[in-house]
Amino acid sequence: MYVAVKGGEKAIDNAHRLLAKKRRGSLDQDEISSDQIAQQFPLAVARVMGEGSLYDEDLAALALKQAAGDVTEAIFLLRAYRATLPRFGESLPMDTGKMRLSRRISATYKDLPGGQLLGPTFDYTHRLLDFSLRGAAKDAPVAEREKTEPRPDEIPLEQTPASCPRVFDFLVQEDLASAEEAAEEKSAVPDITRVPLTLPACREERLQILARGDEGFLLALAYSTQRGYGRTHPFAGEIRIGRCEVWIAPEELGFPVLIGEIEVSECETVNQFSARQDEMPRFTRGYGLAFGYAERKAMSMALVDRALRAAEFGEEIVSPAQEEEFVLAHCDSVEASGFVSHLKLPHYVDFQSELDLLRKIRQGDMAEKEQKSVRANGGEV
């Protein structure tokens, strides 16, 4: 009987074997390759890269495969791997104005320089199950189409527009919104993975935490601001998705070097105006950026970023989305899922203490009641 709680080693080995079996599924089916996942689940890969805070499509796909499709588990796998990598430098600020766009929309202007570009999107699809996708692969016609229409990342550099001005810059030009402080004016941007966070956090730290925060949590918080819990009157000023160059300037070289290109989703919201002291009222901005094609994440992040700027604009902090400590401490899915899941670990000892205490308190109560009833009876006699 007592043996049941022992034998941990054997149990662990068996559990891992069963998990591998569960992940593989029926041997009647071909094993899925991580390359297939990288190519055919790009949005899942994007989410794992973003919240795993490591831009590597192959490793994110591998993590998804290993995690049997559990996105939170895949994020954790990638994070743990990331933690072992040396940090060898900082990139130069990425210029999203020079993005090779695959999608760019603004809800604030009907038309604007650079135009609206719908790109690949679920928007305006009817959410009807497409039964033609069911079962085994039969995608010859798709292959035909791909020959004539290259994917955005396959378009040769010279065929993409050199730059496309950002919507917010128009507002800044008119002085209807403040420019963000240029990065050069600040000392080095703190890295939340290397320096312990102290509160209140600066906006750079907040944005880093939100960028790898859980999409579901941020989505719910963003939604709550729309329903009156910290209203910020947002407009989707601009959403753009595309590929950006990453440059670094190693100290020993003294000049910048292009190290590659990454796909990002960026969202800037135009929010209710505020007037700081001795200033004209201006629109305010929320900012969201995520790796890969991750529009919902970028939008949620922008709304939450704006909500968290409440103190900066002298707004009353009354709602969860505006509470810096609440949001920053709870938005990380790796931390959250770890701590919730740890309840599965044995708590025999603590529970035993609680059992003893409860019994002791109850004994005390019983004794008291008996005494009282004795006294009451004694009074009658």
Partner: protein, 297 residues
């Protein structure tokens, strides 16, 4: 990024690809610096930039990082969870270090130079030179009274601990007892109030003037704190409600101990109960000694 970057980022194929005890030396140095500060200011929570470990948060990542940072090749490691060496998480963590550091492990409290623990302090008295590493879920003793970190840090700085005593007093008013049976708050070296991690309050007296170094690591919350050897650790109480530790009416069904912390085992669905030592090494040592005496007689 591009193809070349992927090559350099290729996942390691074997344990050889990781540094001794998993963490890279820079991270270890960062943790050791935080540890030095923690030892210098007993009971004070030192922020450190915790890393994601290959085990989940809440499963001992703080303790694992501390252990990784202090382990040397000649160390002998013991890992316990709920006092037992053979609970699954203890097995998992012990295996992790056996794999990544190839060090000697033991279940014997006396033989260990480093003991990583979750929720217990061994019954066998610790010795000078031994290091206890505690896994800590919530390092802030004031957290459930004041949820804001900014507030609690200020309260520690100002030694503003009135609310803690009020909480304990309210327990007495409501239940007749201080209704905290584990993670019972202590005051370290007469200054900082500290969460001793969720050890039962039964274990609190073992912290007081212990010859061993006590290190506490909270991975998710990214805090490290310490109780140096021979430091005063006083469990909070009142003159008319002094701190007391629980006693069992039963003794261990295996070794007969009346001194140790006992786990209650439900033996059937008719109210049958059995009590056993939570500290498996202590219990086995006593059983062996009993068998020896019997054999000798």
């Amino acid at each position: 990024m591009n193809e070349r970057m992927n090559e350099t980022a290729a996942p390691p194929q074997s344990e050889d690809s990781y540094n001794f005890a998993y963490l890279d030396e820079q991270t270890k140095r960062m943790i050791r610096r935080a540890l030095l500060k923690a030892v210098a200011i007993p009971g004070y929570q030192v922020p450190f930039s915790g890393r994601e470990m290959p085990l989940p948060y809440g499963w001992g990542t703080g303790g694992i990082q501390l252990t990784a940072a202090i382990l040397g090749e000649n160390d002998v490691l013991k890992v316990i969870d709920q006092g037992a060496d053979d609970t699954t998480n203890a097995v998992s963590i012990r295996r992790f270090f056996a794999r990544t550091a190839a060090i000697k492990t033991t279940t014997r409290t006396q033989e260990a130079s480093v003991i990583q623990t979750r929720h217990r302090i061994p019954e066998t008295p610790l010795q000078h030179g031994q290091i206890m590493v505690f896994q800590v879920p919530i390092p802030e003793p004031l957290r459930f009274i004041e949820p804001s970190e900014r507030e609690t840090r200020a309260m520690h700085a100002l030694e503003d601990y009135g609310v803690m005593h009020v909480k304990l007093y309210e327990d007495i008013a409501a239940f007749g007892h201080i209704a905290t049976s584990y993670a019972y708050p202590v005051r370290v070296a007469g200054r900082y109030i500290m969460d001793p991690s969720p050890i039962p309050k039964f274990d609190n007296p073992k912290l007081h003037k212990s010859p061993a170094l006590m290190l506490f690591g909270a991975g998710r919350e990214k805090r490290i704190y310490a109780v140096p050897p021979y430091t005063e650790v006083e469990s909070l109480d009142f003159e008319d409600h002094p701190f007391e530790i629980p006693r069992w009416e039963s003794c261990c069904a295996l070794c007969g101990s009346q001194e140790s912390y006992l786990d209650e085992i439900v033996t059937d669905d008719e109210g049958g109960r059995l009590f056993l030592c939570s500290d498996t090494d202590y219990c086995e040592t006593r059983q062996n000694a009993m068998n020896m005496t019997k054999g000798g007689a």
